[in-house]
């Protein structure tokens, strides 16, 4: 017999998956927009038209114009290039470093303490504070934002990878591989890394979302990407002084950030539910 609770669970699961599908669709729209920006934007994102400055959303400029009369929709689409591009590179670099150090910390007892204490020290500083400090040292540029945020988020990856490595490396098949004389690098690469791929993947989507938020925050503070590069953060930063008369200047770039990061989080949550066998049974 089907109980009410089971129906409830089924609906919830469907609801969840539907949301994940929707999130994936939104993210694909953003990524597609970023890649094909030159072909789909209605206007040149840097074309100034002072007679049309700070115009509200209309049939010409769907999301209005900014203080130089530039089309906000076109700038948001181009902004996706920089904002998502930076986020993606941060994921790539922080994952590269974090996976390497996390595997070593989890598998080699002697290196565990030094690596983890260093990660602890870095995580004792709030994300945005550490990032802004690194930006002060490195100087403002898009490349340095990637570097700074990768340094900030690598310790998080190290923690997740180390914890998962500890669990997997205690399993019998790893011991068997070692007894068979399989080399350490191969054990780490094949036997451990492939088995901890799902928590890493989930973590990657979260870091993507954090990085997009952090880039916007840094740019807003003036310590990120130079203001002439259109990212969602710089659009809000330069637009804020006109917000009293033209709220759309800050409203829409912010909505773009919320939509993109929310989609990433939903996808991450969805992946976790689908990939975690324990959770799948519980649901």
């Amino acid at each position: 017999m089907i109980t009410a609770a089971e129906i409830n669970l089924f609906i919830r699961r469907l609801f969840r998956r539907k949301l994940v599908m929707l999130a994936a669709l939104i993210l694909m729209l953003f990524v597609g927009g970023a890649i094909f920006a030159p072909f789909i934007t209605p206007f040149d994102p840097s074309m100034m038209k002072l007679v049309r400055r700070l115009k509200p959303p209309s049939t010409v400029n769907f999301l209005g114009t900014d203080e130089f009369g530039r089309d906000i929709l076109s700038r948001i689409i181009y902004g996706a290039q920089a904002s998502l591009g930076i986020g993606f590179l941060v994921v790539l670099f922080s994952m590269g470093v974090g996976i390497f150090l996390g595997l070593i910390a989890g598998y080699m007892k002697s290196l565990d303490a030094p690596i983890m204490r260093l990660a602890d020290a870095m995580m004792a500083l709030p994300d945005i504070l550490l990032a802004i400090f690194l930006m002060a040292v490195l100087g403002p540029s898009a490349g340095n934002v990637v570097l700074a945020l990768s340094i900030v988020y690598a310790p998080r990856v190290v923690r997740v990878v180390r914890a998962s490595t500890l669990v997997v490396s205690a399993l019998p098949f790893v011991e068997a591989a070692r007894a068979l004389g399989v080399s350490t690098t191969r054990i780490l690469r094949v036997h451990i890394l492939l088995n901890i791929a799902s928590p890493i993947l989930v973590q990657a989507t979260f870091i993507f979302a954090y990085a997009v938020l952090a880039e916007a925050g840094l740019s807003f503070l003036g310590a990120g990407v130079p203001p002439e590069v259109p990212t969602w953060g710089t659009m809000i930063a330069t637009g804020q002084q006109y917000a009293d008369d033209a709220f759309w200047v800050v409203l829409f770039p912010g909505l773009a950030i919320v939509l993109a990061t929310l989609s990433l989080q939903l996808i991450g949550d969805g992946l976790r539910d689908m990939l975690d066998p324990k959770l799948r049974k519980a649901l």
Partner: protein, 314 residues
């Protein structure tokens, strides 16, 4: 208990030592000579050399590090390049708005997050649970500075309910200063409530499946006594951890919020220091924030050990 305390204290000192090392050497990676920066563009090479000697910048790097560390242990964080005063003094002057902002934000975050988490766990899988979870996820993904700009537009510019920015005149009454904190604390609290909500929900779900909950129910206790006293009472310890961590992270989150609302706090000080490359101020702020974080963590650990004897043995 004493050996536990000793272990924790050692761990804390190691982390703080590493933070200091990181902060010192990373700062030295920065391009440009601090002495030249201090004197400005007009300085002669001789002036720069003299100042380098005064600040010990001509010494080997490790010697400089040792000297710097010694000063920090004495509580001296150095001199600000631009503010013409010791960093410690500059931080103390700016501490009040940041302290109250963090305090009220944590209170608001807990006030939202705890009941939301409990409700979500009790009616797990129902509409209310999905609704709360969706809201929490949304809150976690809103950039605080953007939300800040929106609430300023709505509550300050349009309806004139609260001041747009600042912390009142220097002589403003405490109440007046509080009024300036309502919007920033609400924004920061709301954004940070998400983590507390999710964590409370997870801990409550753990507790509600425990045997002692079944015992409490079978004793005939009312459902709310079971939920609030037996389940939440036990979930409170892990939940406290996350509230404490939120408080520690708030100091960092305050940076962005203070900038949006023009609050003259530590965050604002750090941002202007970064833009002016005032390294002693940045270093000092980082050390102090890390120390606060580590101390809050230590406090949480101690409360944990005091409340739950199992923790002490590990």
């Amino acid at each position: 208990m004493w050996s536990f305390l000793l272990r924790r204290l050692t761990g804390m000192l190691v982390v703080m030592g590493l933070v200091a090392t990181l902060v010192f050497f990373l700062t030295r990676l920065a391009p440009g000579d601090p002495a030249a920066l201090m004197l400005g563009d007009q300085a002669s090479a001789a002036d720069i050399a003299t100042l380098r000697a005064v600040y010990g910048l001509d010494q080997p790097l490790l010697v400089q590090f040792g000297l710097w560390l010694k000063e920090i242990l004495k509580g001296d964080l150095g001199q600000s390049i631009f503010l013409q005063r010791p960093v410690t003094q500059a931080l103390m002057e700016r501490a009040e708005p940041t302290f109250f902002l963090a305090l009220f934000s944590v209170a608001i975050a807990a006030f939202i997050g705890l009941p939301a988490g409990i409700v979500s766990a009790v009616w797990r899988g129902r509409f209310i649970d999905q609704f709360v979870s969706a809201l929490a996820m949304l809150a976690a993904n809103i950039p605080s500075f953007w939300l800040g700009l929106l609430v300023i537009q709505i509550f300050a510019v349009k309806f004139h309910l609260f001041p747009v920015a600042g912390y009142g005149d220097p002589g403003a009454s405490f109440f007046e200063r509080l009024r300036h904190l309502v919007l920033p604390a609400s924004v920061l609290g709301l954004v940070n409530s998400a983590l507390i909500t999710r964590f409370t929900r997870a801990s409550m779900l753990d507790m509600l499946s425990e045997d002692f909950i079944r015992t409490a129910r079978s004793k005939g206790l009312s459902e709310w006594v079971v939920i609030l006293r037996h389940a939440f009472g036990n979930a409170l310890i892990p939940v406290m951890t996350v509230v404490g961590l939120t408080a520690a992270l708030m100091v960092g989150g305050a940076i962005v919020t203070e900038t949006v609302f023009g609050l003259p706090g530590v965050g604002n000080l750090v941002v202007s220091a970064v833009l002016r490359r005032d390294y002693p101020v940045i270093q000092g702020a980082l050390i102090v924030v890390a120390a606060i974080y580590v101390l809050i963590n230590l406090a949480i650990d101690l409360i944990y050990a005091w409340a739950d004897p199992r923790v002490r043995v590990q």
